[in-house]
């Protein structure tokens, strides 16, 4: 759930999504879900002449399972917040003591 929340903070920002078949899509992150499926608006393909079929798309829904990388602008990431959230998520859970 951590990265789902992380991506929600990036909605509206421009990201580059590299897929497992080396296609790179650039666009504005419109939405995401718990499977990290992404929806990009104003999408362009980075190597557009090699993959011309995508030129007619207005927006693209990318299934989370085919993503290799998501490249984000470094200025958008609050690393301290991210690290704190990671620590909280991985903190050992307190066990209930039965009376």
């Amino acid at each position: 759930m951590l990265f789902f929340s992380f991506f929600k903070t990036l909605i509206g920002k421009t990201v580059a999504v590299e897929l497992k078949n080396d296609v790179i899509l650039t666009g504005t992150l419109h939405s995401c879900d718990q499977y990290l499926n992404l929806k990009l608006s104003s999408v362009t393909v980075v190597n557009g002449d090699k993959y011309p079929q995508l030129g007619c798309l207005k927006n693209a829904f990318v299934r989370g399972s085919v993503v290799r990388y998501v490249q984000i602008p470094s200025g958008e990431v609050n690393t301290e917040l991210l690290e704190d959230a990671t620590r909280k998520e991985n903190a050992p859970k307190k066990r209930e003591v039965a009376k």
Partner: protein, 141 residues
């Protein structure tokens, strides 16, 4: 009919984004590099979709007959596509989507002629072009 952004119920896991694509013409790219055009009618939490007026668009990029790369449409009617096979689903302006971003350089041919062209084409060259969409080979590398 278009839904305002944010009107989707948050408890629908995995499929919140697709509601805005309902009843719109879409282009689906599948794991085996097939391109399907059609109207999105339904979906579920696994991203299985029902596409109406669906057609598979096949490309031939190394056409020696004319200079233009050609394409053909194989009409299929209504199709249910399993979610795990979907790579990209994008909304297009209309179901013909003739240019597909190649600036009108794609020429449409009937299926019989397309098959004839495919028989003569150099398989290695065409595979190189077509291979870039084939996800399933990723597992073998």
């Amino acid at each position: 009919m278009s839904l305002p952004f944010g009107s989707v119920p948050g408890y629908l896991p995995g499929s919140t984004s697709l509601v805005e694509q309902l009843d719109r013409p879409v282009l689906l790219i599948l794991r085996d590099s097939r391109h399907i055009l059609g109207v999105l009618r339904s979906f579920d939490q696994f991203c299985n979709v029902l596409i109406e007026q669906s057609k598979e668009r096949r490309f031939c990029w190394t056409n020696e007959n004319g200079k233009h790369p050609v394409y053909t449409d194989v009409e299929e009617g209504a199709t249910v596509i399993k979610g795990d096979q979907i790579v990209i689903m994008g909304e297009v302006d209309n179901l013909e989507a003739e240019s597909m971003g190649v600036g009108g350089k794609l020429k449409k041919v009937p299926l019989k002629e397309f098959n004839r062209i495919m028989e003569r084409v150099d398989e290695g060259e065409e595979k190189k072009r077509g291979k870039c969409w084939d996800f399933d080979t990723d597992l073998n590398n």
